[in-house]
């Protein structure tokens, strides 16, 4: 059972040592591409816009990739996928930070005063800023040490912020495109996000339902037998079920 040879081919591939470095390089490609285009003077007539759009778009794409790791793992049963999630998440932060820096430096000439005025005045900018700020605690607590220090449950609760980041980021993108009345692609991103978050809601609902029926069943057994020993058993079952539910929600 633990022997790798008994696993399916995709799982064996995902377990190989080369996969993570390979994905790391893939995640760096958009940045490398930008750098190369800059180096060869090929960023187009409006290089500022090329940099801001490309970094923003990849931050959003990687965010959706990050959010699809858990659903994909559950649907396929490929537990190995989980080990790439943190790296994807950190790349989201990396591209978001580049996006922000480009906006601050190229659009506002590193004038914090001007940038702040823009944030306060324009909800579109505020949304982007909010998404970035919400990501900071997630990035800071992404290490194993921080998970241990916070405890799995609190860490999990904190990292649910990523759902809010997703919604705010898509909103930021949609609002940006509204300027050109061209909201077709933000709509696609919004639908994918809705699917990814919807799956989670569905699973959470089903888990809650399963928990309840198990509890009911346990109580039914309890009612049937009046001996004190039986009561003890059913209480234990109830406790187990609740614990199961909790650990499942941590996934």
């Amino acid at each position: 059972m633990t022997a790798a040879s008994s696993l399916s081919l995709p799982r064996r591939v995902l377990r190989s040592r080369a996969v993570k470095p390979l994905l790391f390089v893939l995640c760096l490609l958009p940045f490398a591409g930008l750098f190369w285009r800059g180096w060869t003077n090929d960023l187009g007539p409006n290089p500022e816009q090329t940099v801001i759009w490309t970094t923003g778009l990849w931050a959003l794409r990687l965010l959706l990739i990050t959010l699809s790791v858990t659903p994909l793992r559950k649907l396929t049963g490929w537990a190995e996928l989980a080990r790439f999630r943190r790296m994807f998440g950190l790349f989201v932060f990396f591209y978001a930070l580049l996006h922000f820096t480009a906006w601050l430096g190229l659009v506002n000439g590193f004038s914090v005063d001007m940038a702040l005025r823009d944030v306060v005045k324009h909800p579109f900018v505020l949304a982007g800023m909010t998404a970035l700020l919400l990501m900071i605690p997630l990035a800071l607590t992404s290490t194993n040490g921080m998970i241990r220090r916070l405890g799995a449950r609190r860490w999990q609760a904190l990292h649910r912020l990523v759902y809010v980041v997703g919604v705010v980021a898509v909103f930021h993108f949609w609002w940006g495109k509204l300027a050109k009345n061209n909201t077709a692609s933000p709509t696609v991103y919004a639908l994918i996000l809705a699917l990814l978050l919807g799956l989670r809601l569905w699973w959470a609902w089903r888990a809650a339902l399963a928990r309840r029926t198990q509890l009911h069943r346990a109580r039914a057994i309890d009612d049937q037998s009046n001996d004190p020993a039986g009561k003890q058993v059913s209480n234990q079952v109830g406790k187990q079920v609740t614990n199961q539910g909790k650990s499942r929600s941590l996934a």
Partner: protein
Amino acid sequence: MSKRQDQGFEHPHSSEITPKAVYKDRRHFLAAAGVGAAAGVAALTAHRAQATATPVHGGLPAPGKLAALAAQKNTALSTTQATTPYKDVTTYNNFYEFGTSKSDPSQNAGSLKTRPWTVVVEGEVHKPRTFGIDDLLKLAPMEERIYRHRCVKGWAMVVPWLGYSLSNLLKAVEPTGNAKYVEYITLLDPAEMPGQNDPILQWPYLEGLRMDEAMHPLTLLTFGLYGEVLPNQDGAPMRMVIPWKYGFKGGKSIVKIRLVEKQPVTSWMRAVPQWYGFYSNVNPDVSPQNWSQANERMIGQGGAFGGLFAPRIPTQLFNGYGAQVASLYQGMNLKKFF
């Protein structure tokens, strides 16, 4: 933008374009223009008489891509800033009729047939008329004017346009007393303009001006750029250029001009009314849109990383044409009438 020799189009600095005598004269004109638009017209007329038959487009070499269009420089109404390379002016375009990406128009606009072409001028006029494009090319002397161009999305260009003041055409049809606004309408033809199959805006594209704005000498009925007829992606065969307003006010490939009594509802007002108003004057302090209008990115400056690290420049009220046009908006709340 590329700086490679085989692709690049070398353009001299503005100081090399404009002869010193003419440049000095411009100063006189600008001083006069400060008094009012009427003074501006007078100065313009005086200047035109003085202008010599210098080669078109400020002595810049013609790209040699399209038919040449003879014109006289109008230095008085031209900026002395360096012009944006032809390559950028003709490949970085917003023209949704050919696609929403900036590179789409130059790739897709080949399907547009600009001959034969007629322009209907109607509405509150005593002499409504349908003009052939060749009549329009001859209606008034063609001038070259180097204008600043500011897009609402925070980028800018400097373009040597060819055309004449719209007022020439409007006077020819004799507006009635009811003519308060002018609306101009782009061709509607989804076969030639594939972008019109996308209901992103209500087609045809419609823009408009108040009558005094339309009659202002700076408002240019435009037929060419860089010494040649307009490339399709820049609005061939005839478009509007209003240098103190955001670029989208400049309707392209115009087939109809209507003089009307009521303020037109333009395409962008209809699409996103909270962001795009009728006036759309360039204004660094007013940004009903979702982003700041305080500064702008000049396209095609070159430099390391394609000019990525060149600083933005501050945006000026009325795009720097305040001396000529501010009087049109005296007493108006520019925040309200954006």
